[in-house]
Symmetry: C2
Amino acid sequence: MSLMDRITACAPGNGDDTVDFIAAGQRVGGVGRGVIKHLKPFSGVLQFSDKAISLSSELASYQHRTDAMAEIIRVLRAQGLIPGWRDETYPVGVSFSAPALFEIERAAVPLFGFKGYGVHLNGYVRDGDQLKLWVGKRSKSKPTGPGKLDQIVAGGQPVGLGLKENLIKECHEEANIPADLVRLARPAGAVSYTTFRPEGLRDDVLFIYDLELPASFQPQNTDGEVETFYLWSLDKIRDILEQTDEFKYNSALVVIDFMVRHGFIDAEDPAYAEIVAGLHR
Amino acid sequence: MSLMDRITACAPGNGDDTVDFIAAGQRVGGVGRGVIKHLKPFSGVLQFSDKAISLSSELASYQHRTDAMAEIIRVLRAQGLIPGWRDETYPVGVSFSAPALFEIERAAVPLFGFKGYGVHLNGYVRDGDQLKLWVGKRSKSKPTGPGKLDQIVAGGQPVGLGLKENLIKECHEEANIPADLVRLARPAGAVSYTTFRPEGLRDDVLFIYDLELPASFQPQNTDGEVETFYLWSLDKIRDILEQTDEFKYNSALVVIDFMVRHGFIDAEDPAYAEIVAGLHR
């Protein structure tokens, strides 16, 4: 058991098992071959070839594409193919900075392998020359990773909010961290992965912020999404990462990245180069 | 002009332009097609196919493979194909942690596209709530990147030294940083790139250490490899990175990684996700 197990859990699967999803002439996703048959009834707006499914080029505007996708997933949802509906829309495009081509309900994103984005906060406390990290245990009612360990605050990046703005909102909802404190959080990089999960292809970038919290601060969940919080030493967290899959698969990457950046993992560890590379795929 | 120019300068080239170099049945490098004709005379120890050049499987030991490669590069050197001879041997294997299959003179590594490893130190000084970074200007006599800007200390990772041990040696030679101070340096990750340079295919991992230096510390070069040192604000260094290619191509990645990790680059920068991904290829 080692940190590499957590890296491997986010490793790319076999790309042959997907066909590209094309919108406005550009690849925006990857659809598992098992999903194709459920999309065949929508041949009015989807075109099928051996290697790709394309959204009709007649859908020439953001709104037209959004409406067409909404109708498709309305039907798929009724068939039970889109569990964990959030009522939260994600932008879909070629990259984070490229203009979105349409928007879609968050829960449908993995089914089409669209790119997803999130903000994750490492809330840490200094204890002498050691760091302790706040860990949240996700509510058992969460649609993804129920009961798993997570950052103190983590959330998807929806349409219409800036990253820091979203972080402030999530920090309020998940841990009741005051906005003035959150504004001190520093951007610290990103992890990325492309991996198959039960819900589909996850092709995500998680933007990472670090926030040093006062020893007196006690997080409090306000939205029911976090069951409890723990303030743990990095040694204890490393043991959990190495020996269990209690951390949500992608949140584990964020913790490992924190450990790498803060010098907690010895570069002489034989797996070091592989670990660092595995945080960015 | 932007930081993305520095990322793009280390981007992968066209892989079709290389053939794999195989040793002990495993890919250990990539040879530019223009180099193949110079290797043809060595058909006693090299086997050629359309997609690969293989070191004869009759060379069954580390020493036999090392001797065969040494003879090949002795001849190529006499033909002027291996400039910048270092008299420093690099291990060659599948990865950093895999057992080396043979060793070879450092200057010959890019010609065969073998994986290279280095240690780079960010030496920084706190100035209020700002950070300043020591920058070295490489001697004009260096075989690679003469006159370019670089970390305060950076060196290749040769056979027979641990990373920290090598860092201590390089810190003495390049900047006269006392070993007791270097031991306080913290591992902070790695950057990696696979890119074509005039000398061949560079497929490198640079292990990164951060070291906070006292304001009173003044680096002094002892081996003639650094012309001068500057202590610059991150603002000034960012301007140089954005507007010039004065930094050595790979050292620029190490500086950008430092800026990302220390919160100096806003995650709302539209290129942020691309920049972070571009540090790990």
